[in-house]
């Protein structure tokens, strides 16, 4: 923009100079007259440059308007205004000037002046003609006198006659043009060489035609010349020629020249008046054109200057809208626009300060919120906050994980709607709602059992009402206590089993030994029937003691402290080993073993027992069924080696299913109820999981998942 401004200023300056030269050239000074055409061409070129410049400027402004640059429309309007201000008076003055000029040039030419000058000139001419006639008369008079004399006396007579008639110079030539005699006035200012008449004159005079004329002799002014023939009366002599030369009187010559000069100037002027009109009109037009173009070009620059602060202001506003509070370039203008800019800058500064404070506060707030959130996120307890209408306000990720639902699902949901979206949460809802609704209770605690995908879960739920000044809502904190309770239960049962085993095992050996001793000592002393009774009773005692022992062994096994002898095992191989023992069993066992099952880390003895127990259970469940089958399946699932034992027996009764892994829970008439408990214990010691479920239409499936070596190392 700045560059353009300099170009405009330079063009205007150059134009002013050229215009001055053109106008000087147009006026009568000779200074630039010679280069008038060149100046004209230069001016036209400059005008073209200015027009180009204006065109470019207009294009620029239009482009800015198209691009919606703020202030561009104002610039355009200012340009139009400036241009109008220049064009209207300029055109008016131009019109008047041209009119005036044409009129005044026309008024120089008047018929009277014309005829006066014409008259003056012809007056001069007739004066000269009279003089000419006079001279020729004199010449003829001399010629007649000379004719009567003999040629030899001509030279003598010539000067005498010249003197008599008062002629300045008289010359006598031969017919061929050679000088015979010359007579000059002694008072002649300076003697001149005889002026030879031209051959045309000589020819005319020889043919008896006198000549008279006016000539300008260089350096001498106007001269009258008269040439006449002198017919000599001698046969031997040819015709002679007499020439008289007489200067036009200085006064007359001067006046006549003056008249002729004015006449010539006037004629020239009249002749070229059209051109003159054109000249002045052209100069005027150039001036007008240049003035207008300069005005418009300058208008652009000025408009730019005037609208520039607006653009800055607009930019500042945009920047503020975007949140950039850096102050604008201060404008040096001392007018209202400058004040506006200043107050705008003050405003942005205040805004910047305010927003900085707000931002700082917000950062603090966010930091503390983030701190709280991270605490909540890393908490092992689930936390759910409710508002006073019992809708969920927030919940930490653990809460969703514990409840087995998506966090997004809970958010904003009223507690009464939970049952619809997540039916498994019904027990929780039942526990929460009465406590929420009872106003009096401030804090409460409850243990709730939920059945989720992963099995039964026991949650310890603690609720409290938030103080009214904070939110008037509720907060519920819950922990998964399933494992805790399970561990407590397991520990209790283990203790029972250990004690039982200890207490029972001790008297068993004496009982057995005593019974055997009784049989041994008394058998001989008794008669046959009694001896038989004794033998039977003793046998029963021994058998029952053996049964008791094995039961006690089982108890002690259950109560045993975990000592694993871990080694790398192929689960499929293990299954195969165990199944060889069942080849002769009444129930057929089908196997579906996954071919490339990764190895597991485990105690082969214990795991073999697990498989035994499961197969035993399945067999027991199938007693008395006709199409009984057992399927043993191994596969890889999510990086876990999975062993499934599936039977098509009656399955577990629902009330048992939840507690099937607890000791002494059994569906069999005879059984300790420790089989699955031991299975669970062993599997969990291996870091695995065990699940039991009934399958449709009939049957049960026990599923054991053990971590693989590859998977765990991967």
């Amino acid at each position: 923009m700045a560059k353009l401004r300099y170009i405009v200023l330079a063009s205007v300056g150059l134009g002013a100079v050229l215009l001055y030269m053109l106008s000087r050239a147009s006026s009568n000074t000779a200074a630039f007259a010679e280069h008038y055409t060149l100046l004209l061409v230069l001016n036209v070129l400059l005008a073209a440059v200015l027009i180009g410049l204006i065109g470019y400027q207009i294009w620029l402004v239009k482009k800015r308007i198209r691009d919606k640059v703020f202030g561009a429309r104002l610039t355009m309007r200012l340009i139009i205004l400036f241009a109008l201000m220049a064009v209207v008076p300029g055109t008016l003055i131009y019109g008047v000037s041209v009119q005036f000029l044409t009129r005044s040039i026309e008024s120089w030419f008047d018929v009277r002046v014309d005829s006066a000058l014409e008259g003056g000139l012809s007056l001069g001419r007739s004066v000269l003609e009279a003089q000419q006639n006079d001279l020729i008369h004199k010449a003829q008079a001399i010629a007649i006198t000379l004719q009567e004399e003999s040629p030899s006396s001509h030279t003598r007579l010539l000067d005498q006659l010249r003197n008599q008639l008062g002629v300045q110079e008289a010359t006598l030539f031969s017919a061929r043009g050679s000088v015979l005699a010359i007579a000059t006035a002694t008072d002649a200012r300076d003697a001149i060489l005889p002026q030879m008449p031209g051959p045309a004159i000589l020819r005319a005079v020889r043919a008896q035609r006198p000549y008279s004329g006016i000539e300008t002799i260089t350096g001498k002014g106007l001269y009258l010349r008269a040439v006449v023939p002198v017919n000599v009366l001698s046969l031997s002599e040819d015709v002679r020629i007499l020439q008289l030369l007489e200067p036009v009187p200085a006064k007359i010559a001067k006046d006549a020249e003056a008249v002729q000069d004015v006449y010539r100037d006037y004629k020239e002027l009249a002749f070229s008046r059209h051109g003159l009109n054109k000249l002045f009109a052209l100069t005027l037009t150039m001036t007008l054109l240049f003035a207008l173009l300069s005005a418009i070009a300058l208008a652009f620059v000025l408009s730019q200057r005037m609208s520039a602060p607006l653009g800055l202001l607009a930019e500042g506003t945009k920047a503020v809208a975007k949140g950039d509070f850096s102050p604008m370039q201060p404008v040096k203008a001392r007018d209202e626009l400058g004040q506006l800019m200043q107050s705008f800058n003050t405003m942005t500064r205040q805004l910047a300060e305010t927003s900085a404070v707000v931002e700082h506060k917000q950062q603090q707030l966010e930091a503390s919120k983030g701190y709280l959130e991270s605490i909540l996120a890393h908490l092992s307890s689930g936390v759910i906050a409710f508002d006073e209408k019992f809708s969920v306000k927030s919940a930490n990720p653990i809460a969703a994980q514990l409840l087995g639902v998506d966090l997004q699902l809970l958010r904003g949901l009223n507690v009464f709607e939970w049952s619809e979206k997540a039916p498994q949460l019904a027990p929780l809802v039942q526990a929460l709602t009465p406590r929420f609704e009872s106003e009096g209770q401030k804090e409460w605690q409850a243990q709730i059992e939920l059945t989720l995908d992963g099995g039964a879960k026991t949650l310890l739920v603690r609720g409290s009402r938030l103080p009214a000044e904070i939110d008037n809502g509720y907060v519920v904190v819950f922990d998964d206590v399933t494992r805790l309770i399970q561990a407590q239960r397991d520990a209790a049962w283990g203790e029972v089993a250990r004690r039982l085993a200890h207490e029972i095992k001790n008297p068993l050996t004496p009982i057995q030994l005593s019974a055997e001793r009784l049989a041994h000592k008394l058998a001989a002393k008794l008669d046959l029937p009694d001896a038989e009774i004794l033998a039977r009773a003793t046998q029963t005692i021994v058998n029952q003691v053996a049964a008791l022992k094995s039961m006690v062994d089982e108890f002690s096994q259950y109560a045993r402290q975990p000592t694993l002898n871990l080694q790398t095992l192929d689960l499929n191989e293990l299954v195969g080993e165990v199944l060889t023992l069942y080849e002769t069993s009444p129930v057929p066992v089908q196997t579906e073993l996954a071919p490339a099952l990764p190895h597991v880390q485990g105690d082969s003895k214990l795991l073999r027992q697990v498989i035994h127990n499961l197969l035993q259970n399945a067999q027991d469940a199938l007693v008395g069924r006709e199409t009984a089958t057992i399927r043993v399946r191994t596969e890889l699932e999510n990086g876990l080696a999975v062993l499934r034992v599936i039977d098509n027996g009656v399955g577990f009764p629902p009330e048992i299913l939840a507690r099937v892994f607890e000791p002494y829970v059994t569906t069999k008439a005879k059984g300790t109820g420790l089989g699955l408990a031991i299975v669970k214990k062993i599997v969990e010691e291996h870091g695995g999981q065990v699940e039991v479920r009934n399958i449709e239409p009939v049957g049960a499936c026990v599923c054991i998942k053990l971590p693989c070596i590859e998977a765990s190392s991967a």
């Binding site: 004209l40 000269l128 000539e215 300008t216 002729q260 006449y263 004629k267 051109g275 054109k278």
Partner: protein, 176 residues
Amino acid sequence: MLAFALASIAPITLHAEGLSVKHAELVANEEWYFLNADFSVSLTPALEEALNKGISLNFILEFELTRSRWYWLDESIASVRQNLRISYHALTRQYHFSGNSGNKAFNTLAEAKDELTRVADWKVLDRNLLKKGTPYNAAVRMKLDVKQLPKPLQVEALGSKDWDLASDWHRFTITP
């Protein structure tokens, strides 16, 4: 005067109007070359009227001599010009001619024009400047000097055929 015509190759183009070269030649004496040329001129009505209104008509007569150089621009040996003027003297009703050969007055325009178009013995060149046996290109032309017209007429003359009076360059070769 030892005078011999050196060259006179003149393809004559006769213009009905305007200015043209009829004939041009260089003649030499011991020291100098002289130009003899013959033009044909016919004034446009506008020019004739201007002359009769007392406006002087200035003509420029130009002569140039160059030597061709195949490797560079032609070398300029000589470039001379002469101003010729015809004007009308209303008082005596005579046409005045002025040029290098002096001032002359004629009663008719035709005589003045004859004087204008006949260029004789114009000393243009020192003989020593030319080398023997080398061909040189000579060029002659005459034109009306519009710049010496009064300014209004100059404006009038801008782009007007009436005021454009100039002969083409008449070129011929001389070999001394």
